[in-house]
Symmetry: none
DNA sequence: ACCGTTTGTTCCATTTTTTGGAACGTAGTC
DNA sequence: GACTACGTTCCAAAAAATGGAACAAACGGT
């Protein structure tokens, strides 16, 4: 096993729930002999990959990781990062992808990724739609506080399609469902015959919030295919939340950690 | 030379001015044979410290550096406290605030607080700059012993902008001035047309040292406004020194010695 | 299509580093 | 003052890195 591999094994011990580690922690987590741990920790500290608190003598990620992390493409821009991932998913599933942002209680489409399936693009970039009648729109709303949601949705609840939540109570039920599952869906709402599934993504750094959806023809897709889309979206959400530092991703990670 | 050392040599080739590198770039910058470069780049990619663009085949810092970078000093009280105070000052003055740490004779920007003034952020987090050409960099150096300063500044004194200290003697004169007043300033040094004032803050407990600065456009500020910034910084420094137990007048070496 | 060039990977005997058990510090504690 | 927890250093055996050379793949010009 190479020195680099061992170094990485140590670095991978750190996480949001374990931002710093003692010598003993590292030894237990890596299962390596004391001598190896001692030498390796010293090397990592000397080269800047780790820092050691002079008082507690605990180790934490070093200045070099900070500098390099700032160069990672995730800092380019949230939308471009999401678009790259969405392109992959659309290529695999053949469906059409959307990226939107929230503006008041409406959403604005920013990017469209056309898939191979011949579903006409009905929501061009710039299109405004009430967020309460789309999958990604509701996903974004679900990320706001109840108070914030109430402030955004007009008191005079708008007239919406039959499949959409018909009043504020129904809306909150839908949003709470999304908060539980992390994924949102819609069918025959904004456009007759079109269904979609989506989720919301936040940047851990700027707090910027975007909604991502994949849409398809309801008739032309089977239940199996829609389940596949759901899996793809779930995996995509997990990847993006890691890359963008979405706080929701960390919560989910912690829950997964507790379970295992 | 160990595998880890070589790996670090490669990682240190990346910077804000060089966020991605080709195989050839790395080979030239490290001066290593092709075979070694090839193997090491593959290892770094496989372990997540580097990513490779599938199209351009260029390398850039990987997801692991991003994740670790987010953990760097995430729970650092000194920085969190300073950032809160800096936010207030930047809100009042409209200028842009920086928090940096010293690494050798260079400083690395850790935090930025953007003000309301439209001065584009030119030093993003992670940016490395010689500490001798910035206000907060010199303020940090001034907190070291003369011996330690001499050890850090390269014997072959670097080429610096016209307004910066041109040699070691001039540098020490500037640093002694900072030691007297507690505040440091700069104008037209690291960036043409940009001035800044700053100070250094140490934790009385750990000996940790950070540099805080507020920067502004030289043309767009009056002498009166700069005097106002100076007052604000002086007051902020006093508040922070009380909170963090910074015994101004003691060198960092003395502090670190007492702590351990 | 062909040849030369650039660019990167794989091979392998030699050199160098890593490994991990054991002996050796160094505090803190009862 | 012995005991213990915590780390570091030593050293011979084992494993990995090295780098020149052969090899492969992609590109570019004619």
């Amino acid at each position: 096993m190479s020195a680099l591999t061992n170094a990485i094994d140590i670095l991978r011990c750190f996480s949001t729930s374990r931002p710093d580690l003692s010598f003993a922690d590292v030894q237990v987590l890596t299962g390596k002999p004391k001598s190896s741990t001692s030498r390796l920790l010293r090397s990592l500290r000397d080269c800047g990959l780790l820092e050691q608190d002079p008082h507690s003598r605990r180790y934490r990620p070093g200045l070099l990781t900070f500098e390099l992390g700032r160069l990672h493409r995730a800092h380019d821009d949230l939308i471009a990062t999401a678009e790259r991932e969405l392109r992959d998913v659309c290529a695999r599933t053949g469906h059409t992808g959307y990226i939107a942002v929230l503006d008041g209680y409406q959403q604005v489409v920013l990017r469209i990724v056309t898939g191979s399936n011949p579903l006409r693009v009905v929501n061009p970039p710039g299109q405004r739609t009430p967020a309460i009648i789309t999958s990604n729109g509701r996903a974004m709303l679900a990320r706001l506080s109840d108070q914030e949601i109430r402030a955004r949705v007009p008191l005079d609840y708008p007239k919406v399609p039959a499949n959409s939540p018909q009043n504020f109570t129904e809306l909150m039920a839908r949003l709470n469902e999304i908060r539980r599952t992390g994924i949102s869906d819609a069918a025959d709402e904004a456009i007759e015959g079109v269904g979609s599934q989506g989720f919301a993504l936040a940047s851990g750094e700027s707090g910027e919030l975007i909604g991502i959806a994949v849409s398809y023809s309801v008739q032309a897709t089977t239940e199996i295919e829609r389940a596949n889309v759901r899996r793809e979206l779930g995996a995509m959400a997990a990847r993006l939340r890691r890359i963008t530092g979405d706080p929701l991703g960390q919560t989910i990670e912690q829950l997964a950690g507790l379970a295992s």
